[in-house]
Amino acid sequence: MVKAMRITSILVFVLALGVVALMGSEPLKIGEPAPDFELKDLNGKSVKLSDFKGKYVVLEWINPNCPFVVRHYEKDGMGALQEEIAKNDVVWLTINSTNPSHKDYETPERLSEIYAKWKSKAASNLMDSDGAVGKKYDAKTTPHMYVIGKDGKLLYQGAIDDDPRGNKDSRIQYVRAALNEAMKGRKIVNTTTTPYGCSVKY
């Protein structure tokens, strides 16, 4: 009887895990705590999101072989934006969720070279090679942006701006707008936008 109950419990637990797995990732909710994570940077040092509690944090999903990412760094001043935002004590983290078996995968050493060439001013560049954090955040594209408040709650998720083709004379920079509004204590107008870019290569 006890053995049967134990087997039943195990089966129920396994089924529950299966259901959760099948459900896949769901979009995160604005205003709720951003999921904590621990990833290694390009030098192998562990970095946790919770290390930055009390600061605004920007998460950028990145793939240096995606033409949208290349354009932002080489033409559209991503490094300058990161530097500008850092002056307000905002922490910018890039996360690379590219599967090591994918054509687009680059090693940490190679990524260091690329980001240096791009003059990236991200505070830290993190490796998420098994895609676990990307899937937790339901990151769909590179770039896909998240802004997290000082209290650890999600303030914005979506596109970096409203210019997927990079040909507008004037564009709305959603990340800067969200941070400006949050820092002034105002409600963020666009808390969510549809991200654009290449698919994350899980």
Binding site: G24, S25, E26, P27, K29, I30, G31, N65, C66, P67, R71, H102, K103, D104, K135, D138, K140, T141, G158, P164, R165, N167, V189, N190, T191, T192, T193, T194, P195, Y196, G197, C198, S199, V200, K201, Y202
Partner: protein
């Protein structure tokens, strides 16, 4: 004195002409031609409306994106520059394919994408008017990785080459792949519901009619003010559930448009939403 081979000069001149007049453009990535874009015209008789075709020939495995690319990607952008008084109609998009992974959904086209557009000339067309039709194209083409591409193509209505001819076979092939009118079906939207939970918005459409059970999928067009959760779209018992995420408190769901898929055919659904 040694004669220069005239056939070589002829081929060089032809190549230069090909490159200069924008008949077609091939996009090459790491030595592989991935896509070739061409501009075709139905006729050089500009006294009446005629079709223009933008043809993309893709190498195996590469694809372009639909007007709603899905969770990633970028649709083809077409910008016309027409002779004075000429007007371009809307572009007819074929029913796309759906590409699914565990994390995302995309809509697009492999092998070939041929876009048709009807051009309306003015009654006064002709004389010494420049009759060159120009088009600028901007696209994203993907296989494992993605590459942006552009092309500026043109065709002179007074000098249409055989390679620029949009044939009846072309037009028939495109028309067979276009979405159909939903009025051809025994199908109606019996009920619609919109539920909101913060930013999460769910649209449910209950269909009725004999063709209800034939619906196998729904490919939505982009909805202003909302992100479509493509991986969560579901169909059961003639009920379509479309999960969305509202961008802001002001996001209002006013209309939904897309393709109801039955086998290899798509039927246009275009309905107002009443919240």
């Amino acid at each position: 004195m040694r004669k220069r081979p005239t056939h070589i000069i002829r081929y060089v001149l032809l190549l230069l002409m090909f490159l200069n007049v924008g008949l077609a453009k091939a996009q090459v990535v790491e030595g592989e031609r991935v896509v070739r874009a061409s501009l075709l015209v139905e006729q050089s008789d500009y006294s009446r409306p005629f079709y223009v075709g933008i043809q993309f020939d893709l190498s195996p495995g590469w694809y372009l994106y639909w007007i709603n690319p899905g969770d990633s990607g970028l649709p083809v952008e077409v910008t016309w520059e027409l002779p004075g008084g000429f007007v371009a109609g809307s572009i007819d998009q074929p029913v796309p394919e759906k590409y699914v992974s565990a994390e995302s959904v995309s809509f697009g086209f492999k092998r070939e994408l041929l876009l048709l557009c009807k051009i309306q000339p003015p009654p006064t067309a002709g004389g010494d008017q420049d009759l060159r039709i120009r088009v600028s194209l901007d696209w994203l083409v993907c296989k494992e990785s993605c590459v942006r591409g552009t092309a500026d193509l043109s065709v002179d209505l007074r000098h249409v080459r055989p390679s620029q001819q949009l044939t009846p076979a072309h037009i028939e092939r495109v028309k067979a792949s276009l979405p159909r009118d939903i009025s051809l079906l025994d199908l109606a939207v019996a009920e619609q519901h919109v539920t909101r939970d913060g930013q999460s918005t769910t649209l449910s459409l209950q269909f009725s009619g004999n063709d209800m059970q034939r619906i196998s999928d729904f490919y939505p067009e982009i909805i202003d003010g909302f992100t479509i959760e493509h991986t969560e779209i579901s169909l059961a018992g003639g009920k379509l559930t479309l999960p969305l995420t509202a961008h802001s408190r002001q996001s209002a769901l006013k209309r939904v448009r897309g393709l109801l898929i039955m086998g290899r055919e798509g039927y246009v659904l275009d309905i107002p939403i009443f919240e």
